[in-house]
Amino acid sequence: MQHRSVLSAGQFTRHDLDHLLALSAKLERDLKTRRMIPLLDEYILATLFFEPSTRTRLSFESAMHRLGGRVISTVGVQFSSLAKGETLFDTLKMVEAYSDICAIRHPVEGASRIAAQSIAIPVINAGDGAGEHPTQALLDLYTIEKHKQISSRKQRVAFIGDIKYGRTIHSLIQLLWHYDTELVFISPEELRLPQKYREMLSRRDIPILETDRIAAVQDCDVAYVTRIQEERFADHREYEKFRDSYIVDRELVECCKPGLIVMHPLPRLTEVSTDIDNHPAAVYFDQAQNGLYVRMALLLVLLEVEY
């Protein structure tokens, strides 16, 4: 990989992705028979979470532990010296001294880029505000590859819900454009794809369909569902109407193309009905678990440890 940090999904080449997917698959396979793959026993990961995210933080920490490494972390800004008025820069310089790699989540867009410029150790963006969430995008891609083999077969991927603010969507599309794919964006008019991404996709000749009709999901191979948040709407009734219009349930899945997979970055509210949790189409729990393998692969690659 060119960069020694992971800041944006846009930084990856197809070659990087092929390598990361293969490595993740190998780790997943090997972890079926082993509990630990102790390649990083001389390394320390710092997880700096300036906003809450149990799932992502635990997944990073578990990934490091499974590789035999150590973890130091700060959870909740109130416990850190940031609360005493220390700048992000000063905090990072301390972290640089104590660890070999760091994963950072911060409410401000671009925070991880500033971090990477401030310190010499690799930085992994674990979500920065409304910006990007590249490791989520990688685990999403890995999930699509695992279930639908997107590297060898064209896949029609539907994004359902909040296309405007959904940062996992914005990151994932920057990976998907390396593949043979068609993208279908299903959302209320108010929550459509930002123009920036529409242009990016058009430059890369990725066919897209934008619609408010949930019915468009029927001939897709992947349904990537996201939460529609109430605060995006001025009117509570509008919110309720949209929330109920974009629900994916068992009957809907059974009306779709056979083999469809339903993904969700979790946590969910009602947009994916629990009545498909045991349906073969529902891969969102597997998707969450895949975060472990993908983050293990990233730690190995960034620390330049062969496996």
Binding site: I214, A215, D249, E251, L252, E254, C255, C256, K257
Partner: protein
């Protein structure tokens, strides 16, 4: 009527199993089901190699009687039904006069009793002002609302009038769901020069909007709703998300079989119907929805118009096509293509219509059930030909196509009505009894 009929060694089919067995019929009822049934006085019918189905129930036909004798009447329509293995039908109210009052309903039933070869009942047609009739006319299939205009002038397009019907009474409401406002807007703003424009004018959006309104009203008033002929993937997904125990729906064989634009290239205005046949995307959605149980049953919407009328070109030609005679063979042909099983066909064409409409004693081959039975040769191939049909208009959208799986014998109330091309017309069908909502 009082004779005893023993159907021997047939393959008895239900939605859950297919089993070799005998059926004993006495006084128009099934009195025994099992192996090696013996009866000293029974006339024995050897059904070896044949499949024995509960009589097919077609819950949506237009037999045009009274008012349009050039198109169809209750005699020819019921004869076409018998030839198609259909032992019961529900007929629609857009006749002339329309079935919108007690007298018209009584006249229809009286006429059917004297000419219909198979069992019958009728829908009460809704207008903006006949609520009393809709809720009190005895023993009918349900209330029919045309939310969008089609053949005839029966139409309740105003959503307040539609709501009034949902708000009062308990009887099943069946809707032709196309939004009249969208239809009018499209007619005014779009070209209508060829039949290819038909599905654009009568858009999936129009169907969806009306279905949404009907579903919303059904939920608001907890009213039993049946969505007639679902035709779009959009309605399918909406129903998948919102259907509850009070709501059911149907699809026609032609919407499962044909697709645009090919069907319009081949048949022109003869393929024109309301709501229209749409493209493959919609057709595939309908096939999956039926499998998924989002669509509950099959109905033909048998809606004959004469060849001369259909040749008038678009948009002058009337919408509708015949189908009661070919529905079962079409569904069996698609079964041979691997789309579904015979048990599923029985579920969608026999059991579910009986269940959804609360039909008493029909839909199942069980002791105590009415002896309405369809015997089929699952492998028989026959080419559909215009001029060789029972429907008065004597054409079919399947003309020239070879269908596989045909009814051999149709039994209504224990009497053989149809047997390999021959009709036995002395005994007529009966009024179907609908169990009222409690």
């Amino acid at each position: 009527m009082n004779k005893v009929l023993l159907i021997r060694n047939g393959l008895l089919v239900s939605s859950v199993e297919t089993a070799l067995g005998d059926l004993l019929i006495e006084n128009g009822k099934i009195t025994q089901v099992g192996a090696n049934i013996q009866h000293p006085d029974a006339e024995v019918f050897d059904a070896a190699g044949l499949y024995v189905l509960p009589g097919v129930i077609d819950p949506q036909v237009h037999f045009r009687d009274p008012g349009f004798p050039e198109k169809e009447d209750l005699y020819t329509g019921s004869k076409a039904a018998a030839a198609g293995g259909v032992t019961s039908y529900f007929e629609m109210p857009n006749t002339k006069p329309a079935t919108i009052d007690f007298d018209a309903m009584q006249a229809k039933k009286k006429r059917a009793a004297s000419v219909s070869l198979v069992n019958y009942n009728f829908f009460a047609g809704a207008t903006a002002s006949n609520l009393d009739y809709l809720n009190t006319v005895p023993n009918v299939a349900g209330i029919k609302i045309f939310m969008g205009s089609s053949t005839g002038d029966l139409l309740v397009a105003d959503s307040h009038d539609i709501e009034k019907i949902f708000a009062q009474g308990r009887r099943l409401i069946a809707v032709h769901a196309e939004d009249e406002e969208i239809l009018r807007h499209n007619k005014a703003s779009m070209p209508a020069t060829s039949v290819f424009d038909h599905p654009k004018i009568r858009s999936a959006e129009a169907a969806l909007k009306a279905t949404q309104l009907a579903v919303m009203l059904s939920k608001k008033y907890r009213r039993r709703l049946h969505v007639l002929h679902v035709t779009s993937g959009d309605e399918v997904i909406f129903l998948a998300q919102h259907k509850d125990g009070n709501i059911s729906s149907e699809v026609t064989p032609q919407h499962l079989f044909f697709q645009a634009p090919e069907v319009y290239e081949r048949l022109g205005t003869f393929a024109q119907m309301n709501p229209p046949i749409r493209d493959k995307w919609h057709r595939d959605a309908l096939r999956r929805a039926l499998q998924a149980g989002v669509i509950d049953c099959i109905a033909t919407d048998h809606a004959p118009h004469t060849i001369a009328e259909k040749e008038k070109g678009y948009p002058a030609a009337p919408s509708g096509m015949p189908g009661v005679e070919t529905a079962l063979p079409v569904m069996l042909t698609l079964m041979h293509e691997g789309l579904w099983t015979l048990n599923q066909v029985v579920r969608w064409m026999c059991e579910m219509p009986a269940q959804l409409y609360r039909v008493r004693h029909k839909g199942f081959l069980a002791v105590g059930a009415d002896a309405d039975i369809t015997l089929i040769d699952l492998n028989k191939k026959k080419t559909v030909e215009n001029g060789k049909l029972q429907t008065k208009v004597n054409w079919s959208p399947y003309h020239g196509l070879t269908l596989q799986g045909w009814p051999i014998v149709t039994i209504v109330n224990g009497n053989i009505v149809y047997r390999e091309g021959e009709f036995f017309e002395d005994i007529k069908g009966r009024e179907i009894i609908i169990d009222q909502e409690v």
